[in-house]
């Protein structure tokens, strides 16, 4: 077990280095004058550009620059942005709660939708209820996130409001500290957008997993010794069936984050995705790089945690 954890951690560090390296190569290798000119701004003269090059450390070799960047990251600093020359950390600190609200809320919703429908489909296979669950899954599975988002906005905001039912507010974001009620209302549609696609997948996943478990011998034993159907399904069945779901949850973080960025764009939420996309518009490379490194690291760390949890849950992996 310790060997496995150590191995995963070494691998994690390796992947993180590769991620920062590739990001660095993609963003900052190239014509140094070009970068310095961007940093110095539009009206900069040659002297200012040279000055900017020195400030950015562009007069040093590539490895020195990369090392510098890496040390900065390890100290938790992403450097200055090109547009306003303010620390990127503060911009990220502002955007992070938005993305976090979106992601956490939609995970809760998708589990609340996905698990019950999945259980229902598995406990009543080939019935009308199962079929309804499947139809639900099919409908949302074939929708790209942004398509679902724009259609939601069209139907639930514009059409309902025009019909005199202004249940949902316009796109935008209100901080949870400003007004929890408004925060909730503004996030309902984004949450559903992000959650429904995933909930559909989890419905299928839970259905399959629970059907497998319910076919096991120990379930028959539990029934035979006189436990109620409800106890057998929920205490013995669902608990075992959720293990693969938990693992999948960690793996899906990447998809989720990407989906969150798209959803932010659709609903105009000022989160990390918007930050990156706006920075692209302004050719503000360090900000984009910061978001990419941050999100990629988060995903890789989550994957590592999942691997370790998986080993904890499944003795076959641990003992091998």
């Amino acid at each position: 077990m310790i060997r496995l954890v150590a191995r995963r951690l070494v691998y994690l560090v390796l992947v993180l280095i590769v991620i920062t390296f590739l990001t660095y190569v993609v963003f900052f290798v190239g014509n140094p004058n070009d970068l310095a000119a961007r940093f110095a701004g539009r009206d900069a003269g040659p002297a200012q550009i040279r000055d900017a090059a020195v400030r950015l450390g562009l007069n040093h070799g590539f490895w020195y620059q990369y090392w510098h960047y890496l040390v900065g990251l390890l100290h938790g600093s992403f450097g200055l942005d090109f547009q306003n020359q303010v620390p990127i950390n503060s911009e990220i600190a502002r955007a992070f709660p938005v993305t976090a609200s979106l992601v956490v809320g939609s995970v809760v919703i998708w589990l609340l939708i996905g698990i019950p429908i999945g259980i229902m489909s598995a406990t009543h296979p080939r019935t009308l209820r199962d079929r309804a669950g499947t139809t639900f899954a099919l409908t949302f599975l074939s929708m790209p996130t942004f398509v679902l988002g724009v259609l939601f906005l069209l139907v639930f905001y514009y059409y309902l409001t025009r019909a005199g039912l202004s249940w949902f507010p316009a796109a935008g974001y209100v901080g949870i500290t400003t007004s929890p009620g408004q925060w909730f209302l503004h996030l309902i549609l984004p949450w559903l957008t992000l959650a429904l696609v995933q909930a559909a997948i989890y419905t299928r996943l839970i259905r399959g997993s629970l059907l497998d478990v319910l076919g096991e011998d120990y379930i028959r034993t539990a029934r035979a010794k006189g436990l109620s159907r409800r106890t057998v399904i929920y205490k013995h069945g669902v608990r075992a069936a959720l293990t693969p779901v938990v693992t999948q949850l960690g793996i899906d973080v990447g998809t989720l984050l990407a989906g969150a960025f798209v959803t932010e764009r659709v609903f105009g939420l000022p989160g990390l995705g918007q930050l990156a996309l706006n920075a692209i518009g302004a050719a503000d490379l360090p900000v984009v790089a910061a978001v990419v490194v941050l999100a990629a690291s988060f995903i890789v760390i989550m994957n590592t945690i999942v691997d370790i949890v998986y080993a904890l849950l499944d003795p076959r992996v641990r003992l091998a």
Binding site: L141, T145, V150, F261, L285
Partner: protein, 365 residues
């Protein structure tokens, strides 16, 4: 040389098969002659209504994309022409479907939505098929080499694929497009760059099984070189797998293209792509009164994704009957296909689980 399932297509036998269906029906004995595995797969596929309808839609879409200039000429509206008098009402509201000769209406700039969707299909297919083909070539090559040689070559290539798989595709695509500026070629390369490891993983797994088989041993005993064994003995056995996963990867890549274009990082307006049509519609407010120029590109995208997924799933059943599903009703087929849908799709999931599996294998001393 190779005895593996899907090749050994005997030309002579195929001719017999194609002779005359009535003659075949009369002469039962002849029916057993020359049924190549491909032909058997086709017969199975033909029974699968869902897959055949999807195939029909895909063929239709390909024809539409190829004959786009002809079709738009027939309609009489170019994809980028702005019909400010005919296509917009006096107050600037787009014309609805079926009015003034605009079959699917116009968008907020007075352009024909149908013409733009037709041209958008070109982009979707170019990127979807182009990126998948590139991914298939690279993935097969690297998977073949990794699986065949094993040892440290496999360790390095396998690790490399693992790392690429743990990358957030969309984020890195954003990064690369942000640095180099959007273009069609870059889009194809970027999407291929992150989708080849899925194919690579699957191919590697297959090759590890195949390289121990007797026919490979026989070839080696006959003195065939590694290259010859890989190309003529092992590779033909990978075709079925490659075809299945390529078909399932195409819709993933089409959605990725649409998403990048939606985010403004793919195809740039005024060139029409389904993704940027949706994005352009959403930037204004007019779509709230003229839903058609937002909704029709959405429908085109969803239908295309659906068709490729359903067809890929049917193809898998047809080419891989050992999965033993036998004859399923249409409802069950649609149901089962649900698994193949998601944005990361079953391709990604399959690759993921094979990552885990290989992880476990590696832990075993």
């Amino acid at each position: 040389m190779s005895q593996g399932g899907l090749i050994g297509v005997d030309v002579e036998q195929e001719r017999v098969e194609e002779k005359d269906p009535e003659l075949l029906a009369e002469n039962k004995e002849q029916e057993f002659v020359g049924r190549t595995p491909w032909r058997l797969a086709w017969l199975r596929l033909r029974k699968d209504k869902v897959a055949m309808v999807s195939l029909g839609f895909i063929v239709f879409l390909v024809l539409v994309a190829i004959f786009a200039p002809l079709l738009t000429a027939l309609i009489g509206h170019g994809p980028n022409a702005q019909y400010t008098t005919k296509g917009l009402s006096l107050s600037g509201i787009p014309v609805g479907p079926g009015q003034n000769g605009f079959i699917l209406g116009t968008d907020d700039q007075g352009r024909d939505v149908l013409s733009r969707i037709i041209y958008g299909s070109q982009i979707s297919l170019e990127v979807g098929i182009g990126a998948t083909a590139l991914a298939l070539a690279v993935g097969t090559l690297i998977g073949l080499v990794a699986g065949y040689y094993g040892g440290w070559i496999d360790s390095i290539l396998g690790r490399f694929m693992d790392i690429l798989l743990s990358f957030p595709i969309l984020l890195f695509a954003i990064a690369i497009v942000a640095r180099f500026g959007p273009s069609l070629e870059l889009l194809i390369i970027v999407i291929a760059m992150f989708s080849w490891p899925y194919i690579g993983r699957l191919v590697r797994g297959q090759v590890i099984g195949l390289r121990e088989r007797e026919f490979v041993e026989a070839a080696r005993a006959l003195g065939a070189s590694d290259l010859r064994i890989m190309v003529f003995d092992i590779a033909p056995n990978l075709i079925a797998l490659a075809v299945i996963y390529a078909t399932l990867l195409i819709p993933v890549n089409i959605v990725l293209e649409a998403t990048l274009s939606f985010l403004g990082l793919g195809i740039q307006p005024p060139t029409a792509s389904w993704g940027n049509m949706i994005a352009e519609a959403q930037t204004g407010d007019l779509y709230t009164v003229a839903w058609w120029f937002l909704v029709f590109p959405c429908i085109a995208l969803v239908l295309t994704t659906l068709a490729f997924n359903l067809f890929g799933d049917g193809l898998r059943d047809a080419l891989d009957p050992r999965r033993g599903r036998g004859h399923l009703g249409t409802v069950q087929k649609v149901k089962r296909a649900a698994r193949a849908f998601a944005f990361p799709s079953e391709v990604i999931r399959a690759a993921r689980s094979s990552v885990f599996r290989s992880e476990r294998e590696r832990e075993t001393p």
